[in-house]
């Protein structure tokens, strides 16, 4: 019986290994970014919130906060993971705040490649899903992690239409950079805040926690 049990154990190990390898369980490793969110979860987090180009939230929201970010920047990721979900829940879902995201690409070639596809996603009103997954799978700065495969998978997981959105992407990127130049943005993440439609003021949070953002947003809502 012991031999039989040993054979059964060996067979069980083989079955588990084959299933896991063939089904590609937790294939985030192969993306190089170690992402932990499933595409479905990333999409459902934004479900029901209006998106238009680079904007997230109701166009009638009284306040708009503009973020300038680089998808490779670790602090931008920190903001997206620690602050963004809270703002989404408290202000964006409730129609009080509208967020705009201007993607810059000053860190390196990976920033450029990611920003272009994000802009293409914006043209399809899916930029925020794309950005969420891109941060989740973010690799070390300028390690060359944003390979074609990485970006193609991101685009596919975002549910983007493969139609060529290159021209739209190029235009949006230029717009973002012009906006950053006009606002004299020097680093990421940087924020502007003000009534929807403008004018905007610079907003420098003391740290990347929701507590640093909430009073400023409340102040703006009270105006």
């Amino acid at each position: 019986m012991l031999v039989r049990l040993g054979l059964l154990a060996a067979l069980a190990v083989v079955i588990v290994v084959v299933v896991v390898v063939v089904a590609g369980g937790g294939d985030s490793d192969k993306d190089g970014g170690g992402g932990t969110k499933s595409p479905a979860a990333a999409r459902s987090a934004l479900q029901g919130i209006p998106q238009s180009g680079i904007a997230l939230g109701s166009p009638d929201a009284p306040v708009t906060m503009v973020e300038f970010a680089d998808l490779q920047c670790p602090f931008c990721r920190e903001y997206h993971e620690n602050v963004f979900p809270e703002l989404l829940k408290r202000y964006v879902r409730t129609g009080k705040l509208r967020l705009e995201l201007r993607l810059l690409r000053f860190l390196g070639p990976d920033s450029d490649r990611l920003a272009r596809v994000a802009a293409a996603a914006a043209a399809q009103n899916r930029m925020w899903q794309f950005v969420g997954l891109a941060y989740d799978r973010q690799g070390p700065e300028n390690s060359g992690y944003a390979t074609d495969d990485f970006i193609n998978k991101l685009a596919a997981d975002t549910g983007m239409d493969r139609a060529d959105a290159r021209a739209a992407a190029e235009r949006l990127i230029r717009e973002g950079e012009n906006a950053a130049r006009k606002a004299r943005i020097q680093s990421t993440p940087s924020f502007l805040i003000g009534p929807t439609g403008g004018p905007f003021e610079h907003f420098e949070p003391s740290d990347l926690s929701p507590d640093a953002f909430v009073p400023r947003i409340e102040e703006e809502l009270g105006k």
Binding site: L8, A12, V13, I15, V16, G26, D27
Partner: protein
């Protein structure tokens, strides 16, 4: 022994059904302070080839329950596969997702206990002997 296995499999089945419900209803699982069930449930590891692992859990525990009416080797093989798969998921929780969900741990412990009991059952029972649940 078979009753103990059946009891553990029912516990595992209940957990898996609950987690399947959580997965499809898109609600947050009830979670203790030290664990982060939501992080685990929404991770890449929550699905295998598009099938939620909670659904695999339901199928696995149902199969183990059904196998109690079959040759003991079937139960042993299913129990080992379940324990092996649970071990893989627990490894993923600890080292890849870096979050623990107490439901998943409970299910992993249940499958481990089932594997141990099934081994004892097989060692006690003469092979090739048809048995029914008593």
């Amino acid at each position: 022994m078979r009753r103990a296995i059946a009891g553990l499999a029912l516990i595992g089945l209940a957990i898996s059904i609950y987690l399947t419900f959580v997965h499809f209803a898109d609600v947050k699982p009830v979670c203790t302070g030290i664990s982060d069930c939501e992080k685990v449930q929404t991770s890449d590891y929550a699905e295998l080839a598009g099938i939620p692992v909670a659904v695999l859990g339901v199928a696995g525990y149902v199969a183990i329950l059904a196998s109690l009416w079959m040759r003991v080797e079937v139960t042993v093989l299913l129990a080992y596969v379940a324990a092996g798969f649970s071990a893989y998921l627990t490894w993923a929780e600890l080292f890849e997702i870096e979050a623990i969900c107490q439901w998943c741990v409970a299910s992993a412990l249940a499958s481990l206990a089932i594997a141990v009991l099934a081994t004892l059952l097989a060692l006690r029972a003469p092979p090739l002997h048809d048995r029914t649940l008593s």
